[in-house]
């Protein structure tokens, strides 16, 4: 009865408001003799919302780069892009493989290969590709966890995988707990169309930005205080922007917390193949295996080939869930974000080649480690320290000593001068919601070694200048 009456009164209210407005308008019309213009056809709230975040500083730096991009020969004083986490260090390995194995990019002899592929739009995805992905994920984890191809759901990129998962795990108005600092894209991917909120889990430099049980509890209480229902915790492991793997004990704590609160745990392991040494990365899958998969239905892993394999243009992502219902639902929903069957076929061939993948993973790791060491050395000799990292395509640089004021404004003003004077596009910590000002994410894998040298030289000169200024 109460429900029906409320509905009724609500409707009456709205109709009456419309009436009042109409009355006022007609009066105004009469008084001023104005002509009411034909209203332009409207768009939805989603369409006009700012949640896409493209006006934030994170993306403003990209504009500066687009307008004046660095080129070794053509534009040596242009802006160097260090804000894009792309892996270009191992492209030659891919090229070599594809040159030797043309059957991956054609469909071999005979008609059936191409025909079937061209018509294949099954949201289950090509079985051979799912198997290849599962085995690739196993290889990255050194065989310490097993992956079942039937639990692999394919999506067009990890962006789509994350969004899809949130559609399934949470209702509009619910919340996810995410440790800060986090990837700026989450604000858009997890919230925009889903209507879900993000409640930050506070981490700071005192313990290298690691998640603590106290911080988890505090975040949960924050959500409670705002009357918001928490549906899950989302972690990125290895972390973006920190460039470091999450320790086993911390993962255990987070899993225990999720179990105790009966919420989901999403582990975005998109950089798992970019850890500098295989042994340092512990996947949530390993923790589950050690626990005999007890109560694993709350855990979901997101992966993609955009970072580890350097193929973001191919749009390949996956959701790996230990929850049957999530797998079936995600599969159906993946109709909105299927991977081209041509790409599935190509990558299935490539990733099933265990010799190739083993070699690739090893060499990729090595090259990333070398790059990391190069940039750390370069920064250190300029007097800049970074967080100790062991993974990813970037480092987390500490410029807090350079801030005029230890505030977000101070950080943004420093960032502005780095873009305009140093001509380097790096990502300010505030765009990653970092609670401490002065941290910056610097990408090092999306360029050649020469370019990195140039960037380090610019930083060195800048720091020299600063030293002479203070003396």
């Amino acid at each position: 009865m109460a429900k029906a009456l409320l509905l009724f009164v609500r409707r009456a209210f709205f109709f009456s408001m419309i009436k009042i407005c109409k009355t006022i308008l007609t009066l105004a019309n009469l008084i001023m003799g104005l002509e009411i213009e034909q209203p332009t056809v409207g768009l939805s709230k989603v369409a006009v919302s700012e949640t896409h975040g493209e006006d934030s500083p994170y993306f403003a730096g990209w504009k500066a780069y687009d307008e004046d991009p660095y080129d070794e020969l053509e534009n040596p004083s242009g802006v160097i892009q260090m804000g894009l986490a792309e892996n270009q260090v191992s492209f030659d390995l891919l090229e070599e493989y594809l040159e030797k194995h043309s059957e991956a990019s054609t469909w071999g002899q005979g008609a059936t290969g191409f025909r079937e592929n061209a018509l294949f739009q099954d949201y289950h995805g090509l079985k051979s590709f799912r198997q290849a992905m599962a085995s690739f994920m196993e290889q990255i984890r050194g065989g310490r966890a097993k992956f079942d191809p039937d639990r692999v759901v394919l999506t067009a990129g990890a962006t789509a995988a994350n969004e899809l998962l949130i559609f399934i795990l949470a209702d509009p108005g619910d919340a996810l707990l995410v440790p800060i600092p986090y990837y700026p894209g989450f604000d858009r991917d997890l919230r925009w169309r889903t209507g879900v909120k993000i409640v930050p889990i506070h981490c700071d430099s005192s313990n290298n930005f690691q998640v603590t049980p106290q911080a988890l509890e505090a975040a949960y209480k924050d959500a409670e205080a705002m009357n918001i229902k928490v549906r899950g915790v989302l972690i990125t492991n290895p972390s973006n922007p920190l460039g470091a793997t999450i320790q086993r004990s911390v993962l255990e704590d987070i899993l225990d917390f999720a179990t105790q609160k009966n919420i989901h745990l999403v582990s975005d392991e998109i950089y798992s193949g970019s850890t500098f040494s295989s042994s340092e990365f512990v996947s949530i899958a390993e923790i589950l295996e050690a626990r005999g998969y007890k109560d694993s239905e709350r855990v979901h892993i997101v992966y993609s080939l955009s970072k580890d394999l350097g193929l973001p243009g191919f749009r390949v992502g996956t959701i790996y869930s230990y929850n049957d219902k999530v797998v079936t639902t995600a599969r159906k929903m993946s109709s909105f974000t299927l991977i081209s069957s041509q790409t599935q076929h190509l990558l299935a061939t490539m990733l099933s080649d265990k010799v190739f993948t083993k070699n690739y993973i090893k060499i990729n790791r090595e090259r990333l480690r070398k790059r990391y060491e190069m940039i750390i050395q370069g920064l250190r000799s300029a007097g800049i320290e970074c967080l100790k990292g062991n993974a990813g395509l970037f480092c987390w640089m500490n410029l807090s000593p350079l801030l005029k004021t230890p505030t977000k404004e101070g950080e943004l003003s420093l960032w502005n001068s780095i873009i305009h004077d140093l001509k380097l596009n790096i990502s300010p910590g505030s765009s990653c919601h970092c609670s401490e000002p002065g941290w910056f994410r610097v990408c090092f894998a999306n360029m050649g070694e020469q370019t990195l040298e140039v960037a380090l030289k610019r930083i060195h000169n800048f720091m020299e200048q600063k030293k002479t200024e203070t003396n």
């Binding site: 408001m17 332009t40 894009l84 067009a156 973001p312 639902t329 081209s340």
Partner: protein
């Protein structure tokens, strides 16, 4: 308050609460009923309801924590299956639940309905065929698929093109057209410009070169499915509605509604009109939606129509544009079968009308894709073509969730730019579809089954009304079941397409060869004999 449930189509208008407690009740309710319907003057019509609303809100606020069930529950009344799903309502007590029994973190309410097994005959049929698909040599007793509008008639032409042009590996080093250099990295999410230009030219060719499409007004998506969903997200809010003429493609129920929370209001078309939309029906449906309290944001038409296969005449397109202008709503024109017109009738695209006449372009959005006309559903290529800058901006941003894989973009840009190949392909495709259509419809005619007049699409709309045991949806589904399980033929029943007249079935024939047709006809005949209703 969140309405997270996807409402199933209910045909009755919602009634205001009718629980008069005696005469006093009636005296209270009747005038208030008028208020609800928007009648009543300023005092009765406006101030009293405002006051009522305010006090009610206060009452609820005070009693919320004590009585969670007084919150507006999700409208589950229309979906009985949900009654037994553990309720973890979004506003129930938030204190630490501690041990929640054998803890099972639940999925969202909107996911619940999607997780249910498909109950539409459209999907059930498709699943059954994949379990036992017909093959002339290896599985002659399998189920013949006539429920998937897929075009296999011209794959040989595409194969030939691939064989000729893909001879080198896709990693060429000297600027070879199809190499992957430069496309492994992040590309614009709304598609490579080279593909947009090629698509624009292809679309222009498909509609007979009477319109030119501008590549900068195009947004590419991974198939037409996300294109439809993205437009739904951009043009309507949760709880708003779109008008859709019936019968319509069963996939719209998923694409337009699942994650957007948008409703589809059917605009019923009848066989007496050849299932062509009438303005009267539009007005009726619009008013019906208004009465139910739904805000209509747009009209979704398929032209050429799926499942009927007919074309909207020019005058009807004018009527639709006028209607949309009058009601200030959007028009989504799904023209995905534009290249599959084999008949004599002229296909007129919305784009053509907009170029010729002076209508407000900002409300028109066209959907296209390569799954039907170019037989490449696996490659996932769809397009939104809009004249509205704001829609294009929003849609572009949303394509990050549904981008086309770059190597496929490169390959297709190359194929679509091959003008002589495309010319040959489009002409041959039309001829072959027309040919199979002719044979198929003739076979049906000999069985006494008439097909609706159609000139496009990969299917025919067959009237099997004489064969169904009772002139009702149940009778239709009985026949569908017989056809699926006894005749081993999967066709799509009209009820899955929300057709208001029972007995109609969509039969896709472009997956068949000429030799398969007699087999199909024979199987149907066997069932038809047993079905002939007396008199």
């Amino acid at each position: 308050m969140t309405l997270t449930q996807i409402r199933t189509q209910s045909k009755e208008p919602e009634h205001p609460p009718r629980k008069p407690t005696g005469a006093t009740g009636m005296r209270l309710i009747v005038p208030l009923q008028g208020v609800v319907q928007g009648r009543g003057g300023l005092i009765l019509g406006s101030l009293i309801p405002c006051a009522l609303f305010y006090f009610f809100h206060l009452y609820l606020k005070r009693h919320r924590s004590a009585n969670p069930s007084s919150n507006p529950p999700s409208p589950s009344a229309s979906s009985p299956n949900l009654a037994d799903i553990p309720r973890t309502a979004s506003r129930s007590n938030l204190s630490s639940r501690g041990s929640f029994g054998p803890g099972r973190a639940s999925i969202s309410t909107r996911a619940m309905s999607i997780a249910k097994p498909n109950d539409s005959p459209y999907y059930i049929g498709l699943d059954k065929v994949s379990g036992n698909p017909y093959d002339r040599t290896s599985n002659p007793d399998g189920i013949i698929q006539l429920g998937l509008s897929e075009n296999r008639l011209c794959l040989d032409l595409i194969e030939k093109w691939m064989a000729k042009n893909l001879r080198d590996s896709i990693v060429g080093t000297d600027g070879d057209d199809l190499n992957i250099n430069g496309i492994t990295t992040y590309q614009p999410f709304d598609g490579l410009m080279e593909l947009k230009v090629a698509m624009a030219n292809f679309m222009s060719r498909v509609v007979g070169k009477v319109v030119s499409f501008d590549a900068s007004q195009m947004v590419l998506t991974a198939g037409a499915t996300p294109a439809v969903e993205i437009l739904s997200f951009c043009l309507a809010d949760h709880g708003n509605a779109f008008l859709v003429p019936t019968p319509y493609y069963p996939g719209f129920d998923r694409d337009m509604r699942w994650r957007t929370g948008v409703e589809l209001v059917p605009v019923h078309c009848r066989s007496t009109d050849n299932f062509i939309l009438s303005v009267t029906a539009l007005e009726q449906a619009y008013n019906h939606a208004r009465k139910r309290g739904l805000k209509v944001r747009g009209l979704l038409i398929s032209n050429p129509s799926n499942p009927v296969g007919n074309l909207l005449p020019r005058e009807r397109l004018f009527d639709i544009l006028n209607f949309a202008q009058e009601k200030n709503i959007h028009i989504i024109s799904d023209e995905i079968f534009a290249g599959s017109v084999y008949g004599e009738d002229e296909f007129v695209s919305m784009a053509q009308i907009l170029e010729e006449e002076d209508f407000d372009k900002n409300r028109v959005h066209i959907i296209y894709g390569l799954s039907k006309d170019l037989s490449l559903p696996g490659f996932r290529v769809g397009a939104i073509y809009s004249y509205n800058e704001n829609v294009l901006t929003a849609a572009k941003r949303l394509t990050r969730f549904s981008s086309i894989s770059a190597p496929s973009q490169r390959l297709l840009a190359s194929m679509l730019s091959d003008a002589s190949f495309i010319e040959e392909y489009i002409e041959t495709n039309k001829k072959r579809i027309g040919n199979i259509y002719g044979l198929f419809v003739e076979g049906f005619r000999r069985l006494g089954i008439r097909c609706m007049e159609s000139s496009a699409g990969l299917y025919c709309w067959a009237d099997m009304g004489k064969l169904i045991p009772s002139y009702s949806e149940k009778g239709e589904l009985d026949l569908w079941d017989k056809l699926l399980n006894i005749a081993k033929i999967n066709v799509t029943p009209g009820s899955a397409c929300h057709c208001i007249e029972p007995g109609w079935f969509r039969c896709c024939f472009t997956t068949l060869t000429e030799d398969d047709i007699p087999i199909v006809i024979e199987r149907i005949r066997k069932v038809a004999e047993t079905c002939k209703s007396p008199g």
